[in-house]
Every structure is written in C-alpha cells, then in structure tokens.
C-alpha cells in the first residue's frame, strides 16, 4: 500500500510533469504580464477611465493564476484521492504553521479582490501612510507616497485597520486647504479672495462646487480658520493644487495687506467689496 503511494507520488512529480507545470506557470506569468502591459497602455490612452481600467487587473490576475493552478492539479497531476489525503495529512500542519502569515495575507488578498476597499490609483490612508495605491497583489498592497517612496503593507494588516479612501475609484477628489488669519480680518473679503484663488487654479475641477468655510479658533489669541474645499481634476495633482491655491491666496492677501504680519501692524482695513 505504502509502496504504491510512493510510486504514485514519484510518478506525479516526474520530469515530464515538472516540465509541464513549469510551462503552465510560465504561461500564466506571461499572460498576467501581457495583460498588465495592455491595461497600462489602455489606461494611459484613456486617462479619464484610468482607475476603472487598472481596477480590473487584480481580478483578472487572480483568475489567470486560479486557472493555472486548476490546470496543474486537475489536468497535469490529476492525483488520486489517497495521494491527496496523504499529502495533506503529512504536510498540512507543518506548512500551515510555517506559512500562517503568508496564508493570512493571501486570504486577505483574495478577500480584497472580491470586496475591494480601494482600487489601484486611489488615494488612501492606511495607518500612518498616505499615498496612491500603486499595486495590489495577493500578499501586499503597495502605496506610493508624495515623497515617491513605495510602502508595502501586508494585506492582513490592511483589512485589520480603518482605511480612509479619498476618491473611491473616481478621478477627482476633494482637497482641503486650510489657513489661519487674525480674528479681525474682513471675513467676506477673505472668503471672496479664497474662492477666486481656488477657481483660478488650473488644477481645480470646476464642475464640482467650491466652498470656503470659516470657523473660530483659539491659539494663544483669537483667530479665524478658513477652509477652502475644492476638487482636483486628477488625484495625481492633489499636492500641486493645494500648493497652487496657497500660493495664489498668499499673493492676494499680500496685495490686500491681509497677511498676519501686515495686518497686525495696524495697516488700514481694506474696503469691503
């Protein structure tokens, strides 16, 4: 009985089978690579639908690898029930213990494929890391931060904590620019300048509303905190837009002598428009 099982195992992993398995794995790898190149090319051509196109890749890649494993198991190896039971019994516990983290990550990766928390291209905050989702594979999620670092976060860690998604598959996202001025500044005028600064930025998506909110703030003295809320036309320009609005607003406030230093020095109040 044992000899038969051994013979069967040896036959399963014969040179011919190993070559076939290698070919199938190579074909699956090649197919995934070609698919990725095609989708990248397509996303580049149709930037407007970039996130939708790249979002399809994890599902298709999982399908390719599942297909490859199925072909290896059921077409090439086709093991008998006895062999399957023997292999599972002898190696299951050992492999399971040794690779529990890996398996946990893979399971999380599979779960995220079917119930995605984000797509490739989304701007997300996971733990202390904020950036664009560069890649989601079965084991890790790669985030590209604004400093151009790639942070690899294991998938099991991703699903364990809250994930903040800024755009949820859309190309546009809200950007909030905050600034604080002395409490006595003419609020209407500053709001108008802030609105103009946001509207005139070339990165602002004008189709969505632009709002300027104001609230009181105390930090050793009474202050007014202004929040400009506008949408950026492509998430990749998020920081550029925030910087651009800040720059424009500072120029406008400086022109109207409303910057804190100038304003507090007792310059005359500008006329309300």
């Amino acid at each position: 009985m044992q000899t038969n099982l051994l013979n069967e195992l040896v036959e399963l992993f014969s040179a011919a089978h190993l070559i076939k398995i290698a070919l199938v794995l190579a074909a699956a790898w090649g197919a995934a690579r070609v698919l990725r190149l095609l989708l990248e090319r397509l996303a580049q051509k149709f930037n407007r639908y970039r996130l939708q196109i790249t979002g399809v890749f994890p599902v298709l890649r999982l399908a390719i690898w599942t297909g490859a494993v199925a072909v290896i198991l059921f077409v090439i190896l086709h093991p008998s029930k006895n062999v399957v039971l023997a292999v599972l019994a002898s190696s299951g516990i050992a492999v399971g213990l040794a690779a529990q983290d890996l398996i946990r990550n893979v399971l999380a990766g599979i779960g995220m494929t079917f119930k995605p928390l984000f797509r490739v291209g989304d701007m997300v905050q996971i733990g202390e890391h904020y950036g664009e989702v560069a890649e989601v594979d079965l084991i890790v999620t790669n985030l590209r931060t604004f400093e151009d670092n790639v942070v690899a976060i294991p998938n099991a860690e991703v699903i364990k904590q809250p994930v903040s998604n800024a755009n949820r598959g859309a190309l546009v996202e809200m950007v909030v620019v905050e600034f604080v001025l002395p409490a006595g500044v003419p609020v209407q005028r500053v709001k108008s300048l802030a609105w103009r600064a946001a509207v005139s930025s070339p990165y602002t998506f004008l189709k969505k509303p632009i709002e300027v909110l104001v609230e009181d703030h105390f930090d050793y003295t009474f202050l007014s905190r202004f929040k400009v809320k506008a949408y950026v036309l492509d998430i990749r320009f998020e920081r550029l837009m925030a910087s651009d609005i800040t720059e424009r607003l500072k120029t406008l406030l400086h022109k109207e002598r409303l910057l804190p230093g100038e304003y507090l020095r007792g310059t005359t109040l500008p006329q309300q428009s």
Partner: protein
C-alpha cells in the same frame, strides 16, 4: 554543443520576440535606445515630431487667381458671401430670437461651439441680415481681458458710450437709459482668464449681460469649453434665454458647403480617384465636366475630405490645399487624395504642455505673460514652453508688438478637433 547553441538561439529569439511585443505595446525610452543601437543611421539624428505646415499647404496654390485661392482659405466669410451654407437653421434661430426680443421679451443668446464651426461667419451673416436697423453694435474681443477696467474700456469703445464709466454697474445704467440695441459679441471666451483678477472680470461681464437684458439683446459667441467653464462658475444657462450649440458640419452640410465653393471655382479641377498611386491612371475633370464620372470623383473626394476632417472646415481646407497641385501652366488644379495627419505626437507631450494646450483649447489664445500668470511661473519659462509647442506646429504665433512675451499663441485650427478629443480623454477639459 548543438543543444547549447539551440538553447541560446531560442533564448535570443524569445527575448527579441518579447522586446518586439513590448515595443508594440509601449514604445519605451529603452526600446528607442535599442532601435538606435540597432540602426544608428535611421534614428541617430532624431527629428522632433511636428504637424504639417499649414501655411506651406496654402502656398501650394500660389500663382493661381486670388479669387480661386480665397475660396479655400481658412478665414471667416463676410456677411454677404454667397459661400455661406450649412448654418441656415442656426441663422433662423438667431433671427427668431431677435423677433422675440423685439416683442419685448427679455433675452440673451449664447452661440457656442468649438473652433472652426463658423461662429464668426454666422455673426457676420446676422449683422448683414440686420443691416439698416438702428442700434446694432459689434464687439470683438481681440485679446484676453485681464481686469474689469480692461473690460470696461473695450466695451466702452465698441459700444460708443457717451460717458466715461468706471464700473460695470454704471455701464449697465447707461445702457438701460439709451435706445434698445442689439450687441453682437465675438470671441467672448477671452473674457475669462484663469487668474484671480480676471475671474472677477468674467463675473462682471456676466452681471452686465444679466442686468441689461431688458434693453439690450446680447448675442454672445464663445468657445464650447469657455462656455462650460463659465457655466460651472456662474450658472450661465440661467442668464441666457437661448443657447445655440454649433457642432462641426455633418456630412450633408459639409458636402453642401464644399459644393458651393466648387461651383464658384474659376479654375478647372481634376480629381484623382481614391486608389493606390500605382493604379491611378484615370482622372476626371470637374466641376464643369459633363460626365457622371467627374461628378462621382468629386463626390468621392469630398467624402474623403469629410472622413479626414470630421466636418471641421479649417482641417478640410488644409487637406484641400495639401492635396492640390496646380498644373505647371496654371490652367487646372489636380486634386490627389492622400492620407490624414498623424496626431500621435500628442502622446509624447508632458503634463505642462498638455495643461497649456487645455488652456488654449478653452480660451483660444494665450501670451507667455498670461501663461506665466495662470501657471505661476517665470514668464521666460512660459515662453519656452509655448515656443516648444509652436516649433511642433501645434500652435501658431503672431507678434503684434515688439515684446516677445506679448506674442499671441493660438492652437492650429487643423488640430483643434484632435486636441479636443485627446485632452478630453486625459480629463484636462471636461
């Protein structure tokens, strides 16, 4: 030994195949480098990709009668031109709006469309239809309006205001006091410059239109993208009683427009059939040709022009001139259909260039100084960026004064439709 060689050959073949596939899918810098290494003579001196020369195409017909050349020149038609065709329904809608306004109904009309659809021609025609009527004023914005003062000055001169005004509210008061009038505003896309000051100017213009609608009929012609931007910002549709959208010509309109021009041609035209050059032996004369074959060839040629230009007249006229070859004796013009322009160079442009193109696509023209204000960078850098696009013939440049920073850049009309599609796909216009 044999097996080793076979293996190496297979490996090399496989790698070449993979590289070829990659090059086909994504021609990268690395693949270009490989190509240069493989054939340095071919790509050693890489020419910068650029569009064909529009002026050069027009120059092909130099020597022919001016009356003939003007038929195929890219410029707006005057009000009485017999070549006016394809926009009869839009003209009727404008005339109806005037009648409605005369019946004391409040109104303002927006004439919206991309470059090359014939907005200026339509305004010329409308002005011509209104000849003899009092109180018709034409305002053409020649440059981007930067400040409210600039706007007031431009409008005061064109509207021949009796008094000097310093704010649009005063101007509105004056306009309300005067006789009712029709004001035709061309190139209104130039009222919105994306700088904080100019945003206020656009707001002032919209408020002027809204405040004087009972006494003035404003017919405002502007580019499609500028209209959308203004609509997002100030809710333009609420202030305009009628919006006439002009798309590019459809097939029937296009053929009608071109036939009007062919009928006026004073030089015999010879159309080659749309066949590979080695099989061409048959040509047919037109438009005076008295056989069906000539008419059929002309029809085929016009179909081909429409397919290439998608109804964009400046592009169609460019192709017409590019495909025209005058006989050495200048007694006839041969029209030999060719291929369309390859716009793939757009894919090579960087983000800054695409943003500049989007701005031009929306508002028509831009100087280096305006570009530097919009993108908050040094004016010299802006000039370099715009000059680079000019060298690729994506933009044309005119220098009204000596100051290089005030040279006006515009998108080449033949390229407008393609740019629109590309920038829309890139989500830079919306």
């Amino acid at each position: 030994m044999k097996i080793g060689e076979l293996w190496r050959e297979s490996l090399a073949g496989g790698r070449a195949w993979l590289h070829g596939l990659q090059d086909h899918i994504r021609p990268s810098a690395e693949s270009r480098h490989r190509a240069e290494k493989a054939d340095p003579g071919k790509t050693g001196v890489a020419a910068q990709p650029c569009l064909p020369d529009c002026q050069g195409a027009y120059a092909r017909t130099t020597g022919l009668p001016e009356a003939f050349r003007e038929l195929f020149e890219n410029r707006p038609l005057n009000g009485q031109s017999p070549l006016f065709a394809g926009r009869e329904s839009a003209l009727a809608a404008l005339c109806d709006a005037v009648s409605a306004w005369e019946a004391s109904r409040i109104g303002a009309i927006a004439l919206v469309g991309p470059d090359g659809v014939g907005r200026t021609t339509l305004l010329n025609r409308m002005a011509s239809e209104l000849t003899g009527r009092d109180g018709v004023t034409r305002v053409t914005l020649e440059h981007r309006v930067r400040t409210e003062t600039d706007l007031i000055q431009t409008l005061s001169v064109s509207l021949d205001m009796a008094e000097t005004v310093s704010a649009v509210e005063e101007m509105a008061l004056l306009l309300r006091r005067e006789e009712r009038r029709i004001i035709l505003v061309d190139n209104a896309q130039r009222v919105l410059l994306r700088t904080p000051d100019a945003i206020g100017t656009a707001e002032a213009f919209v408020s002027l239109v809204a405040a004087t609608q009972a006494d003035c009929l404003w017919v405002v012609s502007l580019k499609e993208q500028a209209w959308r931007r203004l609509d997002y910002l100030f809710g333009m549709r609420a202030h305009f009683s009628s919006v006439i959208e002009l798309p590019y010509f459809n097939r029937e309109e296009f053929v009608a427009v071109m036939k009007r021009r062919l009928a006026a041609a004073t030089v015999p035209l010879v159309f080659y059939a749309l066949e590979p050059s080695d099989k061409r032996g048959e040509a047919s004369k037109g438009p005076d040709g008295n056989n069906n074959k000539a008419a059929s060839s002309a029809e085929c040629f016009l179909e081909h022009l429409f397919a290439l230009s998608k109804g964009n007249m400046p592009a169609a006229l460019f192709y017409w001139n590019a495909f025209s070859t005058p006989d050495p004796s200048l007694k006839e013009v041969v029209l030999d259909p060719g291929a369309g322009i390859d716009f793939s160079l757009l894919k090579e442009l960087d983000t800054a260039a695409l943003f500049a193109l989007a701005e031009l696509q929306a508002h028509g023209c831009l100087t280096a100084r305006e570009h530097s204000e919009i993108f908050q960078q040094d004016a010299r850098k802006s000039r370099l960026q715009l000059d680079a696009l000019h060298r690729q013939r994506l933009l044309n440049r005119s220098s009204p004064g000596g100051d290089d920073l005030e040279s006006i850049y515009r998108i080449e009309p033949i390229f407008c439709a393609a740019a629109s599609v590309f920038l829309d796909a890139a989500h830079l216009i919306y």
